[in-house]
């Protein structure tokens, strides 16, 4: 095992997948010769050549649209969209096409496509580079959506996505790409899609978080611990299909839940989770589910993004509110 950053773990996963299966290829803007603007595809061009580490024209819809055709035709394309916010230009292909290939053809055609994209703020980026879009996918049956919070999960989830027979969006939290290192197994392994991870065990409050907000939730949990509050943190890892049972089991144990998300609160994944626990665990609840997230406005210019992003302090305040209810 080696200590790796998330971006290194992603690069290793791609290399191993391409090594193991010559149907796997990576494609996107700057992913070939340049190795990706974040180096996710570093050295893949040298190892696997220009037909498997493909520099495409600058067109997100074209990247996803042609990758769909490749996937239907039997290849295993892993398309990179340089920033998740640019996926808007590919949304028609994702939502109206990739999501429906299997359904529309009653399984005659399938779309084993992976779309990787970094997302999230906190890195002082330009407009649209920081958007967080999982709620838009949650509302699209036929797509899957995973987001790792650790280097180990980044590798395992990406390999599981490549193995998956359906289209999977792998959302990589940009500010965790190089934020820390951890031991990542050298061998090829998968982290199952649709299974949450218990990131921290606790008994008084459940925090549900994913991707970029897992470190925020853990930091808030640490702070609460110092004050004698035991906080459980569920790292959802998969948004679609969601591990509902993991959330419900934790809430039935702690009786209180706070959902932490980076995207705007209204109509978000947190709203879905709040509805889930209300529908299926209302009698276990001692307090209403609370959401901490981005405010309901477009992502702000980066000089003031700290005011927008959930902070451990805002999460801590929500923990206190559910405890005091």
């Amino acid at each position: 095992m080696a200590r790796m950053t998330m971006i290194q773990a992603i690069n290793q996963a791609l290399a191993q997948a391409m090594e193991a299966d010559d149907r796997v290829l990576v494609m996107g803007e700057d992913v070939g010769r340049n190795g990706g603007v974040f180096r996710a595809t570093d050295k893949l061009y040298d190892r696997f050549g220009p037909e498997r580490a493909i520099d495409t024209p600058l067109a997100e819809g074209g990247i996803v649209g042609t990758a769909i055709g490749m996937a239907v035709y039997g290849l295993r394309p892993v398309a990179e969209i340089q920033f998740m916010g640019f996926t808007y230009q590919a949304f028609s292909q994702l939502v109206a096409q990739a999501a429906r290939i299997r359904y529309r053809s009653l399984g005659q055609y399938t779309c084993p496509l992976v779309v990787r994209a970094p997302y999230g703020g906190g890195v002082r980026a330009l407009e649209l580079h920081s958007d967080t879009l999982e709620a838009r996918v949650l509302h699209t049956p036929g797509l899957k959506f995973v987001t790792p919070a650790t280097p180990r999960d980044a590798k395992g989830l990406l390999l599981a996505a490549i193995d998956d027979p359906d289209p999977v969006i792998v959302a990589e939290p940009l500010r965790l790409y190089r934020s820390h290192r951890e031991e990542v197994p050298e061998e090829r392994y998968t982290v199952p899609i649709g299974k949450a991870r218990l990131a921290r065990e606790g008994s008084d409050v459940t925090l549900v978080a994913w991707g970029s907000q897992v470190p925020t939730a853990l930091e808030a949990a640490e702070a609460a611990e110092a004050d004698g509050v035991s906080v459980e943190v569920i790292d959802l890892r998969t948004i679609v299909p969601m591990d509902q049972e993991a959330i419900l089991a934790s809430v039935r144990k702690t009786h209180r839940v706070v959902i932490v998300q980076e995207a705007p609160v209204i109509g978000g994944v947190g709203a879905e989770i709040a509805a889930l626990v209300s529908e299926r665990a209302i009698l276990s609840l001692e307090a209403p589910p609370l959401r901490v997230g981005g405010y309901d406005m477009p992502y702000p210019p980066s000089a003031i993004e700290e005011q927008y992003l959930p902070s451990p302090e805002r999460v801590r305040q929500a923990i206190d509110r559910v405890l005091a209810f």
């Binding site: 035709y73 109206a96 096409q97 299997r102 009653l106």
Partner: protein, 350 residues
């Protein structure tokens, strides 16, 4: 140098006279082309009638476009993929789609338009031009796999205004995808005429900007479409990349059964379109060469009526599918919440 030919290739004049070089097609193949075009027209008329009687749902007639589709498919091998739209039943029929599946589509049966295994027809495109990047991707994948296959994607003149058309053409050009972009320019995108879609004098000339060849053909001349598509597919199979063919044709009927073209088209347009009808043209040619007789014509018309009748009956006898039957096709593995919903939907059925 990239070759774009806007001279409008024609081999058969509207009166059935040979005005170009005859492709290497034997009498049996020529008669087969004619039979499929007549069968497609018969299906079209029957479907229109059934819709008028309220027995099937919305239907998009293809009458008038039989030559541009059947000509193209006769240039394809059976293992080469066709990317159809909702107005492609003549092409689908020619490429092996059973007639009853064509009826199931406007009957809104989930099996409608689904190709049986071994029939190389992609799902029916409803979003205009959204299938073109898929066709480019599949063709490109075939090239990556070192196959020697050609692909054909059908679309209309309206589709050329979409961003997906541009992106597909651009990717296909850059990666030399073995794809024939076959634009059936039928003059109208619902009520909007061709000249409102683009200020280009022709659609074919757009190919220049993407670095490959294009050509205008008389889309009501089955031999011209056949020959142009054959040459384009030969180039594709040989690794020479894509081609854009603009088959100039005319939509004789409404956009769909929900449309009334008298609101935007002049009646004299239809008179002219009927004069240049692609089926009439091939029949006159065959008769002129003593390859077709009144007797054969009568037999074919009766046979086509019977095939269409039998296909509609088979479609009607196809067991219906319930909502719950679609659940396994959302994902390969049914998520637990969807499995629970399936129980609920099945529970509501009486």
């Amino acid at each position: 140098m990239i070759r774009v030919d806007v001279s409008r290739r024609q081999i058969l004049a509207p009166d059935g006279k040979l005005v170009g070089e005859m492709p290497a097609l034997g009498p049996d193949t020529l008669r087969d082309m004619y039979r499929i075009m007549v069968l497609a027209r018969t299906f079209d008329q029957r479907a229109l009638n059934l819709q008028r009687q309220g027995r099937i749902g919305t239907f998009a007639p293809a009458a008038g476009q039989e030559a541009s589709q059947v000509g193209a498919v006769f240039a394809m091998r059976r293992d080469e993929w066709l990317f159809p739209t909702y107005r492609s039943h003549p092409a689908m029929l020619a490429h092996g789609m059973p007639l009853d599946r064509l009826f199931l589509y406007p009957m809104a049966h989930p099996l409608g338009g689904v190709a049986p295994p071994g029939v190389a027809i992609y799902s029916v495109a409803i979003s205009i031009a959204a299938h073109l990047p898929h066709a480019a991707g599949a063709a490109w994948a075939s090239r990556i796999r070192r196959e020697s296959k050609g692909f054909v994607a059908l679309f209309g003149d309206g589709a050329t205004s979409e961003g997906d058309f541009h992106e597909a053409m651009n990717f296909a050009g850059v990666f030399r995808a073995p794809l024939v972009f076959l634009c059936e320019n039928n003059g109208w995108a619902i009520s909007v005429p061709r000249e409102h879609q683009t200020a280009s004098e022709t659609i074919a000339q757009k190919a220049v900007a993407y670095g490959f060849g294009g050509e205008v053909v008389d889309g009501n001349d089955v031999l011209a479409v056949y020959q142009a598509t054959s040459e384009a597919l030969e180039r594709a199979r040989a690794g020479e990349g894509p081609t854009l063919i603009e088959a100039q044709t005319y939509r004789l009927g409404p956009h769909t059964t929900a449309d009334d073209p008298t609101r935007y088209r002049k009646p004299e347009e239809l008179t002219e379109a009927e004069r240049i009808d692609p089926i009439l043209r091939l029949r006159l040619f065959l008769e002129g060469r003593d390859l077709w007789s009144e007797k054969e014509e009568a037999a074919l018309r009766a046979e086509a009526q019977e095939s269409v009748r039998a296909a509609y009956q088979k479609a009607q006898e196809t067991p219906p599918m319930a909502l719950g039957d679609l659940v396994p096709y959302v994902y390969a593995e049914v998520p637990p919440y969807l499995a629970a919903e399936r129980e609920e939907m099945n529970g509501w059925r009486v």
